[in-house]
Structure formats: C-alpha cells, structure tokens
C-alpha cells in the first residue's frame, strides 16, 4: 500500500499537470488543477495516516521486479542532456560545461556501481517521520499555492507581456513541481535524489522564465547556472561516496564511518538550493516570476530541498567540526541576509532576504545538531513554509491591486484590501511577535546555540536586524484611520480561499505550537538522535520547553483584547480627532491626511521608514558578505580534508 501511495505522490501531480496542459480552456484547466491539488493533499494525508511508525524502505526493484538501476541512470542522463540542450538554446557556455560535467559524472557513477557492488545495501526510497512531515508540507502548502495561482494567473495573463508562455505549460510545471519535490524528500538512493534534485532545478528554470522578458530570461538562466553548479556538487558528492566508501544511499552516508567528503559536497549542493550566501542571487532574481512561483519556491519547494538535505544528514555527524562549519555558514547567512533586508523597500526583495535569513537559521539549528536544535529546525521549517506562502500570496494580491511592490506605497492597502491586509498582518506578526511559532523557535534556537558562542552572536545580531525590517513593514501596512470606508474586496474564490486557509494555518500553528512540539517534534528529535551520544543537558532543555509561558502570553493577549472591547463604549464618532500635524488638518478623503501649508495650499504629511541605505547598501554588503561566506565554505572544506 505504502509503496504505491509513494509512487502516486510523485506521479499524480505530474499527471494532473499534463491534464492541465492538455486542457482546452481556462475552465477545464481550472478543474484539472483544482482536482490535482485536492488529490495531492488527500494523498499526502492518507500517506501520513497509513504510514507505519518507524522507518520503512521501498525499492523499485522489489516493486517491478526488474533492473530499475537502468531507469535511474537513463533519467539522470536524460535530465543532464536536457540541461545541455537548454544551455545551447540560451547560449550559456558555463551551463553547457556544467551539464557536460554532469553527464560525465553520471557515466562515471554508473561505471563504478557496475564494477563493484555497494558496501552498504539500501533501498531507493525511505519513509520516516521526517519524510512524512516534508511530504505533508510540500503537498498541502504547494497545492494551496497552485489553487491560488488559478485566480492570480487569470489576471496575470491578461496583462502579461506577449512573450509569456501559455498558462497551460505554467500549470503543468507548477503542479508537476510538487511531484518532483515529493520524490526528492522520499528518495534515499543518491541517484534518485539527484534526479529529483535536477528536476526541481529544471522546473524552477521554466517557471522563472515564464514571462519571457529579457529580465526574466536572464534570471532564469542565473537560477539554472547556480543550481546546476549545485547539481554538480551533489553528483560529485555521491560519486565520491560511491568510490570512497562504496555507499550509494543517503542513509549510508550517515551510517558510513564519517563520510565527511561527500557530506561537504552535499552540503554545498544544499547551500545552492537554499540560496545561502554566497549563492543568494538566483532566489532574488526569481522574484520576476509571477507571484505564485515565488510563493512556491520560497515556501514549500525548492529552497526547502536544501535544508531538508542538511536535516537528513545532520544527525549522523554529531560533534563533527564540519557540522559546526555548516552551522556557522547558516548563522552567518541568517545575520547577513537580515542586514541586507534592512535597506530594501521592495516588498518581494524583503521577503526573499527574509527567506534566505530564515533558511540560514534552520541550517544553523541543524548544524548545532542537538535534539532541541533539531526539533527547532523542524518547527521553523513548518512555520516558515506556511507563513512565507501566505505572505507571498498577500503581496501578490496587493501588487495586482495597487500596482506597486514598494513597501512605502502600502499605506493604503487597509482600505483597498482589508481581508488580504489582515492576513498579511497575521503573517508578518507571526514572524516576530509572541505567541506565534517563529518567536518560540528563535527562543529555542538561541537556547540551543548557547554552547557555540560565534553562532550565538550571529543569531543575536540577526534577530535584532530581523526585528528592524519586519516592524517597519508591519507598521506601514496597518495604517488606518477611523473614518475609513473599507472597500469590499472582490477577489476570485481561489485567491481568497488560499489566503484564508494559510492565514488560519498560521493562527492554528500559533495555538498548537507547543503541543505540536511536544507530540511531534520532540519525540522525532529524540528518536532521530537515539543511540547517538549527546549531552544530557540538551535533552533536559528539550523537556523544559513547557507550554506555561506560551499559555500565559496568550492569556495576556486575550486580556488586552477583552480590555480593548470593554473600552469600546468610549469609541464614539464625536470623539474621533484627526492626527495632530502642528497646524490645520485638511480632510480630503479617508486615505490621506493633509495640512494647510504655504499659501494655504494643502500639503501632504509624509514620512518614510528608515532604510539606512547609506549603511545597509545592498551592493556593498553583498560584496563583503559573499567573500566572508566563501571563506566559511572554504573553512568547511579545509576541515573535511583535516587541515
């Protein structure tokens, strides 16, 4: 049962994607995508419920009784050849070179595996709690985004440039992406992992280049280049694992006695996928794509592949200095990306940097490699996926409405789009305020990083800077005035339902944060680290994360809300006053507050938040942090070879 579900989870999205591509009209395509999304959600739920406790292994050879290695080799080769063809079409020598290297590596790997049987046997796919959690995140959140895309793309295609691809192909790639991602998190065989890894690269290339404008083509090429580099690193890692320790499975790498060199290469691949510094440029470029694509790349798929890989590998390397280097790289990305976000007023760019920053935090937690840190990383991964999806969807809706993605222009959205703005508010608040999960995670992250001061320092700096850029945006978007006549939002059902579900998810995870931790993540962490030597201290902290603080916080928020309701009787229209502008207010409409300035002319009262772009200049910081990040990566490799 489980094995067929697994194959369905990978193939069903692709099949529904093909159906959507083949669909003759918008209406039938809508049905295909909706049914496909719902089916994927249903499949993932059934998969999660019916899965056996503990680990189970699935081999294609057992299922089909044939020699499936040839299938894997063929697919690997095929993808590399496709990349090469694309490289020729987009005229990029670098990508072509990388694709040729990939072909070479695939052949070499096949040659090695034919020559000697692997020392450690393994299966093609592995089902365990981590994989199930990942599949649920990918399938559920990804499907919601696909449904949102239905409403979004209708508007987008109407205004899209003439070069844009048809929405049939768009939905094929978007929905198929989920299947590839499911395959990625389930694969245990390094070869299958590589196949899905490269397939997600191709999907993101197609989606980023959807509009076909010179800018989007350029950025798609960049994404392909950097991720192909990651692919080469991954294939090199698996080749070295095979040739060095005779291992061809992920589980083998963690089990084989300190397979450090493959670990370093896989970590490098993970960093490219998760857009950690210095590889962040492709994720920033990806924002030219339609918003559902950004939402998908940032929340459920693509970047999550990298952190998943680190999470998968980490428990096998407790106490290793390489893991420390990985944690350091993650913590550095956390702080540096937060610093980069401070100077940005472009909403999508802020979101992108915040994604990089949060992924850095997850990687740092995984690298710290204690049960508490591991559970924190898992919780961060879940919360971040929900929140980022929600925020991107809201920003996309806002952008389509006000025609700008500048944060400073968003002072009016409370009137134009009350529901979307409320959802965005919930999402942003959940990034920095209690009782939402992010804050609990940050709390646990700092507590678990306490043993490594350097990482701790980056976490502290990053937290302060994170606060800075979120508070600015949150403040701008919630601006309201009493006389406001809120517009009724007229949004397509698909957009509204996606926003509601994700907003509800954010609130639910806030309420359920601690129970989730105690029921799911803490046991998961304990189980993962079973039999591995860890300090009793980190386990004791794991126990001490109680619900009391969070309950008290919720109680006091509720008290404040009740008090606010009780003061409601004071709120009478005749008590409303305009803001004090040191002069005479001029009321023209609900949105702007003006005062009489020179010559009795109305003058706008207007201030922007602080961006400090002389200090936090993007180009300058990027240059410096990239060099430092490269230094950290080199340190990682130096540690591997034992310098």
């Amino acid at each position: 049962m489980g094995e067929w579900l697994l194959i369905l989870l990978i193939l069903a999205p692709v099949a529904f994607g093909l159906l959507a591509w083949a669909a003759p009209g918008d209406r039938s395509r809508g049905w295909a995508v909706t049914v496909g999304a719902l089916a994927t959600i249903a499949l993932s739920l059934v998969f999660a419920v019916t899965a056996k406790t503990g680990e189970s292994w699935i081999s294609l050879a057992d299922l089909f009784g044939g020699r499936t290695e040839w299938l894997a080799f063929g697919l690997e080769l095929l993808i590399a050849i496709v990349v090469a063809v694309i490289a020729v079409r987009v005229r990029s020598r670098l990508i072509l070179a990388l694709a040729l290297v990939q072909i070479g590596l695939a052949v070499a790997e096949e040659w090695f595996s034919l020559r000697a049987a692997p020392a450690l046997p393994g299966a093609d796919f592995r089902i365990d709690t981590l994989a199930i959690v990942m599949v649920s995140i990918v399938s559920i959140i990804g499907s919601i985004i696909a449904i949102y895309a239905l409403g979004y793309m209708k508007h987008h295609q109407a205004h899209a440039p003439a070069t844009a691809q048809g929405s049939g192909r768009f939905f094929f790639v978007l929905v198929g992406f989920l299947g590839m991602m499911n395959g990625l998190v389930l694969a245990d065989n390094l070869r299958w992992l590589t196949i899905f890894w490269e397939a997600t690269t191709l999907c993101s290339f197609a989606l980023i280049g959807h509009d076909g404008t010179p800018e989007s083509r350029k950025n798609a090429r960049l994404a392909l280049l950097i991720n192909s580099f990651g692919g080469v690193a991954m294939m090199l890692g698996s080749l070295l694992a095979l040739s060095g320790s005779g291992v061809e499975h992920l589980s083998g790498i963690t089990a084989a006695n300190r397979a450090l060199i493959p670990l370093a290469f896989l970590a490098l691949a993970a960093f490219t996928k998760s857009a950690q510094l210095p590889f962040q440029s492709w994720l920033l470029g990806a924002m030219v794509a339609p918003t559902p694509v950004s939402a998908l790349l940032h929340s459920a798929t693509m970047v999550k592949a990298g952190v998943y890989l680190i999470l998968r590998l980490a428990p096998g390397f407790t106490g290793s200095r390489v893991m420390f280097a990985i944690a350091l790289a993650g913590a550095f990305s956390f702080a540096a990306a937060a610093a980069l976000a401070v100077g940005q007023s472009n909403a999508k760019k802020v979101l992108a940097y915040s994604t990089i920053s949060n992924l850095g935090l997850i990687i740092a937690c995984a690298g710290i490699n204690t049960p508490l840190a591991y559970a924190t990383a898992m919780m961060l991964l879940l919360f971040h996926a929900i929140v980022k999806a929600l925020l991107f969807l809201c920003v996309g809706t806002i952008e389509q409405k006000i025609g700008s993605r500048d944060i400073e222009d968003m002072g009016v959205v409370m009137f134009e789009l009350p529901v979307t703005t409320l959802m965005a508010l919930v999402g942003m608040a959940s990034m920095l305020t209690p009782p939402f999960g992010m804050l609990v995670c940050k709390w646990m992250a700092i507590e678990s990083a306490i043993a490594s001061p350097l990482i701790l320092l980056f976490l502290i700096l990053g937290s302060a800077l994170t606060l800075f850029f979120w508070a600015k945006w949150l403040g701008r978007i919630q601006t309201v005035s009493y006389h406001a006549t809120l517009t009724r939002e007229k949004l397509p059902l698909s957009i509204l339902s996606a926003e509601y579900i994700l907003g509800g998810g954010v609130v639910l995870t806030a309420i359920m944060g601690i129970p989730l931790f105690q029921i799911l993540f803490a046991p998961l962490a304990v189980q993962t680290y079973q039999g591995i030597v860890i300090s009793a201290e980190s386990l004791s902290i794991l126990d001490s994360v109680g619900g009391l603080d969070i309950c008290l916080i919720m109680l006091f928020i509720a008290l404040a809300a009740i008090a606010n309701m009780l003061t409601g009787r004071y709120f009478k229209p005749e008590r409303v006053r305009l803001p004090f502008l040191s002069g005479e207010n001029v009321v023209t409409d609900a949105r702007t507050f003006r005062f009489r300035g020179l010559k009795d002319e109305p003058d706008e009262a207007w201030t922007t938040a602080l961006y400090l772009d002389t200090v936090f200049t993007e180009t300058k910081i990027t240059q410096w942090t990239n060099w430092l990040a490269i230094l950290v990566l080199l340190t990682m490799f130096a540690l591997v070879v034992g310098i």
């Binding site: 006053r577 305009l578 004090f580 002069g583 005479e584 207010n585 009489r596 009795d600």
Partner: protein
C-alpha cells in the same frame, strides 16, 4: 479631590504674537518661577494638554489653526489668553487681518492683561484657570471670562485713518 488641578499640562499656541508674551510665559518655567512645582508641564501636544495658553492677536488665517488645536484638546479644558493682543488685538488691533481677540474664535476662561504681563501675573492667571478646570470637571456651568476693555492704542494714531503705504517703499529706511 482636585485631580485636574494637581497636574495641569499646558500647550502653548502662538497666534502671531510679537514673542514678548511667549518669552514671559517661558520665563515661568525657569528656576526663578518654576511652574513645574505645581505639576505644570509644558507639553507641545494638544492631545495631552489640559490648558491652552494663547498669545498674540489672532488673524483670519491662524484662527482656523487655533480652533483646530482647541478641538484636539480632550475635555475638560480651559483657555488662558496671555497679553492684551489676545483680548482686543493690542497694538495690532487696526491691522486689516486682525480679528480682535481670540474670544471670537474659541471660548476664553482667563484673560491675563499686560503687554507683556509679568510672569507673576501669568502664574496667577494659570492658578485661576485651575479652579475653572475643576469646576468644569464637576459639571458646573462656567461662564466665559470677562474681557478687559482697555487696549494699548496711542490716541492720535487711533483717530487718524490708516493709509497703506505703497508696496515696497516702506520700511527700507535711508533711501527716502
């Protein structure tokens, strides 16, 4: 219990005063007079204030601003008018743009005469206004202050009709 009288916060608004009264009012806050010992704070914001202190002869343009500032003060509140300009317009009374007393714009509770009044007089006026503040809080009807009738106005100039001088020629002594 006199709640309001124990911490009167003052916002000061200048309706084109010559700054004489303003400086005298600020002198009240200096160590010599120390208004803060009565709990008085000089606050720049009408939304925090209890007492509106006005100086200067109000004109057509800043009358609207004055009214706006007055409306933004939460009740109960009192208005203290400092200087003769605020009651009649003072030496500016004959100017074309002068309304002649701020009581034409907002109700005034205490007039403090003088050009400018001494700080002692201002403190006295503020203390008087506190009684009215408490009375207003108690819900008593408080009558507006009686307006001083005198004005500073040299008699010979007051009789002569004002002839506006040609633009640009006046006030640049030496050439004529």
């Amino acid at each position: 219990m006199k709640i309001l009288a124990k911490s009167p916060w003052v916002v000061h608004f200048n309706c084109n005063s010559c700054n004489g009264c303003d400086i005298e009012f600020l002198a009240c806050l200096t160590p010599l007079y120390d208004l803060e010992r009565f709990g008085v704070l000089h606050i720049g914001n009408p939304k925090h204030a209890d007492i509106l202190v006005v100086t200067g002869s109000v004109n057509h343009r800043n009358a609207r601003v004055l009214e706006n500032v007055y409306l933004q003060i939460p009740d109960p509140k009192v208005v203290v008018a400092i200087g003769v300009c605020t009651s009649t317009g003072g030496i500016f009374a004959d100017c074309y743009n002068i309304l002649g007393g701020i009581d034409k714009v907002i109700p005034v509770d205490v007039f403090i005469p003088g050009c400018p009044p001494r700080p002692e007089a201002i403190i006295d006026g503020l203390v008087q206004s506190l009684e009215k503040l408490e009375a207003k809080r108690a819900g008593k009807k408080v009558a507006p202050a009686r307006k001083p009738t005198f004005t500073f106005r040299p008699p010979e100039e007051a009789e002569a009709p004002v002839t506006p001088s040609p633009a640009g020629s006046a006030g640049h002594g030496g050439k004529e």
